[in-house]
Amino acid sequence: MQTATSNTTTPASPSWFEKNYFLIRRLHSLTGIVPIGVFLVAHLITNSSLLWGRAGIRPGDGEGLSLTEGGITYFQKEVTWINTQVPHLLLIEITLWVAIAFHSILGIAFALTGKTNTSRYAYQSNWRYALQRFSGYVGIAFIFYHVATLRWGWTFLVPGGTQWSHHYAVSTLTMALRGGEQWTPAGIAVSLFYFLGITLLIFHFANGLWTAAITWGLTISTSAQRNWGYACLAIGSGLMLAGWSALGVAVLVDPAKARAIEQSMLKAAPQAPLQTQVPDTDK
């Protein structure tokens, strides 16, 4: 080990970072998939139920509901379930925050070691290399805004100051995106930022899946890399559709109508968590 290149350099004993470099790099790769990627997929599927939720309502429960009404109802149910039934929700959230912070900080540090050269070498893969880094930067800003405004309640960052509430999941979301009941210029900007953020993050995830397979050595041959590339394209396209449909319904829905549905759901089940305990006390 020590003999080969000791003539040119006298390396100081390796730092902690250098000793654990491999582990750190691979943890960076891994956290992008678990837990961040897994959460992203679950999150997009849930959100896209705004579009397909009508189909998810059990026959008999949703008599006479339109597509939009069904979507709102189903999505509100999902949100209530997550916020009242999922155990250790805070622990899950903290895990995600830590993972995202780790992936972001290291991602920026690693991205700064490269210099994009797409103007000279305008290959598609080189563009994806550049876009992977750009989408990371924008994605960090977007996730921060998204979580700060809708989860942590930093309403001073929301045009119109709407506070998101899990009891009024759709109507408050629509207002936070539009900047109020009606569209405002700032609301349009926020909605466009959502479109950009969602699109870039899904690209980042799908392209990251593709590169991770090379990094870990799963796809070696050029044809394996190409085939896995098609698979990632399919995954990315599916998630794009989910993300765009969720955002589309969220900005286009009438907040008053959504609020009416949410209010009636709240009246019907004012304390959802207690309900589950009813069967227990009966026994």
Partner: protein, 278 residues
């Protein structure tokens, strides 16, 4: 025609025959030495039939007068084999890196008045004009011990047999000429003037591929662990960003991205084994 010429010309559309007796312009980025500023100078050249960049540079050397009539020092470049096997004549031609000996003017400047730009590679220190110092390429090969360890005090006898399948995989890898094209085009490989920084900066696709070549060699495999140890560390395989420019510019069509993935797998396995005490 040398086959590699056709491969390099493959991304150019088929063109009508070049105009004989035409005058073209070589726009050359000049630099008097390390740390000196660079300037552009234009030279008129009348390319001979089937001329390559080197023969045009020879014409410039015969009469180093710029297009505005200034007599200047002859342009310096590096070359050796003149048949795309030594890699020393590598430079940036019309914005893309390649060998100047295999770059034909009939493809690049077929018409009267065409301009061809020549720059030294940007990732290596300039010695003078188009000549760069590629020591770091060879330093990287030393880091990954890109050789078969057979030195000793007695005759080791015949080595283990090589299978035809293995030979087939290895052959193309063995054609690497350390030219540096894959490094010049790589967004993760940046200029490092100081040799002391070379062990921390990204090692580059060629050394990763050569490590694979010698890991696949029945006797060369003895050094596999040491190679993987280097490639698992800072500046190793993990610093590749998968832009895959390397494989597109490699004049030898070496499947560099396959080598990168293969070494990625080998390092993964090596590290897992190491974690469990092997």
């Amino acid at each position: 025609m040398i086959t590699s010429l056709t491969t390099n010309a493959a991304n150019q559309p088929a063109k009508p025959a070049a105009t004989p007796g035409r005058t073209i312009t070589l726009r050359i980025k000049r630099c008097d030495g390390p740390g000196k500023p660079s300037t552009w100078q234009d030279f008129h050249v009348r390319p001979l039939k089937n001329a390559n960049i080197i023969s045009c540079l020879q014409q410039v050397a015969l009469n180093p007068v710029t297009t505005d009539g200034q007599r200047v020092a002859p342009v310096v470049w590096d070359s050796g084999c003149l048949e795309e096997v030594c890699g020393s004549c590598t430079m940036v031609i019309n914005g893309k890196v390649r060998q100047s000996c295999s770059c034909l003017l009939d493809d690049y400047a077929p018409n009267e008045g065409d301009v061809v730009t020549l720059e030294p590679m940007t990732k290596f220190p300039v010695v003078r004009d188009l000549w760069v110092d590629r020591s770091r390429v060879f330093h990287a090969l030393k880091r990954v011990k890109a050789w078969v360890p057979i030195d000793g005090t007695y005759n080791l006898g015949a080595g283990p047999k090589e299978t035809p399948a293995n030979q087939e995989t290895r052959y193309v890898l063995s054609t690497c000429m350390s030219c540096g094209c894959c490094l010049e085009a790589c967004p993760q490989f940046n200029m490092e003037e100081q040799p002391k920084d070379w062990d921390q900066a990204f090692i580059g696709a060629h050394a990763i591929s050569q490590a694979r070549l010698f890991n696949l060699h029945p006797t060369g495999a003895q050094l596999e662990r040491e190679r993987l140890e280097v490639l698992g560390g800072v500046g190793g395989i993990n610093d590749c960003g998968n832009a895959q420019n390397c494989v597109k510019v490699c004049p030898k069509k070496i499947p560099l991205t396959e080598s990168i993935a293969a070494i990625g797998r080998a390092v993964t396995i090596h590290k897992v084994k190491q974690f469990f005490g092997r």
